[in-house]
Amino acid sequence: MVTPSALVSPPPAEPSAMGVVLDLIEGIGRVPTGGTVTVELVHANRIAALDLVAAWCASSGNELVSVEGLTVTVLHGRSPDPLAGLDPAQLPGSRVWVYTNFDCNLACDYCCVRSSPKAERRAIGAERLQQIADEAAAAGVGELILTGGEPFLLNDLDALVNSCTDKLPTTLLTNGMLFRGARLERLRRMDRSRLTLQISVDSATPGIHDSHRGNGSWAKAVAGIRIAHDEGFRVKVAATLPADQMHELDPFHAFLDTIGISREDQVIRALAHRGVADSGIELTVDSLIPEVTITADGVYWHPVAADHDDQFVTRDIFPLADAIAEITRRFVAHRRAAERAAEWFPCA
């Protein structure tokens, strides 16, 4: 005899997480590789369905693009690796910038981080810099770059720099104007085989340089280059030029040749509209390949905006590998978003 309970129909199947995958497979089959499909989840099993969709994407070679509420978007195939086309030197974390301090003996009218004699020091400090150097080396960083403010204002700069060069090749940015007395002695205690000095000079003659950086600053910077060379250091020169002067570089290069700066060490960059600069190129997070940058306040996207909230990434400097990974993650997301936007933008 059949018991009444056996006659009861089975309960209707609960909304099936697997059903979403079937929808996906069907949808993906209908769009070309590179196309996207959206599927709707059911609220009751959203978490289980999302886990399943993620697992299916991983196993099937498709890419989970976004989840917004109950709507899931999946790309047919995988989008190209946004990092693949980059020069290895451009990969986030290939080098790490550190602002040792923000105060400066100069008050340049285009300083991207508003440094001046009145700026707060906001020093990174010996202990943190040591940990940065240790963790950077462990994370596969290839170079440390120390900048400010003017690092030579720090009384422990030799120890700071040596803690970096002990771990990694290091470049120290300076205006080159303070190589006297105790500061020169500190310079002499730095490791010439691992340290490059990068000194700012903006023009072949004093006029333009001094107009931005103060009277007499050009002559002192050029003298600083000579001292650094005499002390056996490799010196790079970095110039910051307004975009309208970028076309007339030959005389400047010729000048740098005469003071012994090799062509590969002549760095010329466009003025950025950041800090106290009232003009210059606009550099935003989504248009700028990141350069992991650390200040006393945390981690920033790029050294050009290390005093600007829009490029602040995280207060947590450590673990440094996590900060690098977070910047890499955001960079990949920006590039993918840009690629998707490009796909949507009609040509005509």
Partner: protein, 270 residues
């Protein structure tokens, strides 16, 4: 310069275009260039092959067997994917349903895919028959979506799986490729499990009419077989087409389908 061989293929998905563009680009670099023509269904493609509009047709197993039938066996199979030689049909049910064999389907509801899908309709009935089950012994439901494409879209098989999830059927017969696409039951262990897998049979193959001279087909096949999974440019095409190597066909692998067509009275044309 040698005139390109014209290859027919069925456009079962938009991705067919990049696959054959890739094939054409590959062959353009060889001694045997090719071009391709896309068809909306296999019936038209086989007609075009037999009428001489095509040099070669990329045929499903059903399209191959039908070409054989319509040419009294005069057509030739030239090459297949490695995956075509080991195709299987998988019978699946909700996990824990208690199916242990085809025999355990007696009196239960089995959902099949499109009637022209060898893997999801024609061969499953053949395998049931071999297990001693006639169509009356199992309550069969057929989902005839995308008829004409011989199950290539997989849509009817996905619909069959949905029918199981929705409790409109107890079990489904699907191709191994669809089973792999849903993760072989490993993604969501509670959803599906397979309870019977068929013997291996052959699936797609390049088909030529006797009018295509061996002197033209052999070098083309040699170049096809030379595609190399380790070569990134070849690999992207091979990944889209679902193979790691092109191989000579295995003709004995079509015997089960020939028997199924005879048993089920499936005509040589559709």
């Amino acid at each position: 310069m040698t005139a390109p061989l014209v290859v027919g293929a069925v456009a079962y998905s938009p991705n067919v275009v990049p696959i054959w563009d890739g094939m054409r680009d590959y062959f353009a670099e060889t001694s045997t260039p090719m071009d391709f023509v896309l068809f909306s269904n296999y019936g038209r493609q086989v007609d075009a092959l037999i009428s001489g509009s095509l040099d070669l047709a990329w045929n499903t197993n059903l399209a191959w067997v039908r070409t054989v039938a319509q040419t009294d066996g005069a057509c030739r199979a030239l090459a297949s994917r490695d995956t075509d030689l080991i195709f299987t049909t998988v019978f699946v049910a909700r996990a824990g349903s208690g199916f242990t064999s085809l025999e355990s389907l007696r009196g239960r509801r089995l959902v099949l895919g499109s009637r022209d899908s060898a893997q999801a309709a024609i061969l499953p009935v053949h395998f049931l028959r071999e297990a001693g089950l006639s169509e009356g012994d199992v309550n069969l439901t057929r989902i005839d979506s995308d008829v004409g494409k011989h199950g290539d879209t997989g849509r009817s098989e996905l619909d069959a799986l949905r029918a199981v999830l929705d409790d409109r059927a107890d079990a489904a017969a699907i191709g191994i490729n669809t089973w792999q696409a849903i993760g072989r039951g490993e993604l969501l262990p509670g959803a599906f499990e397979s309870f019977w897998t068929s013997p291996e049979y052959s699936h797609c193959t390049f088909t030529a009419m006797p009018s295509l001279a061996i002197e033209r087909s052999d070098p083309w096949v040699a170049n096809l077989l030379a595609m190399d999974w380790q070569n990134p440019q070849h690999r992207s095409i091979m990944e889209m087409e679902g193979l790691q190597a092109w191989v000579p066909p295995r003709l004995e692998g079509y015997a089960s389908l020939v028997a199924a067509i005879r048993e089920q009275g499936i005509t040589a044309r559709w």
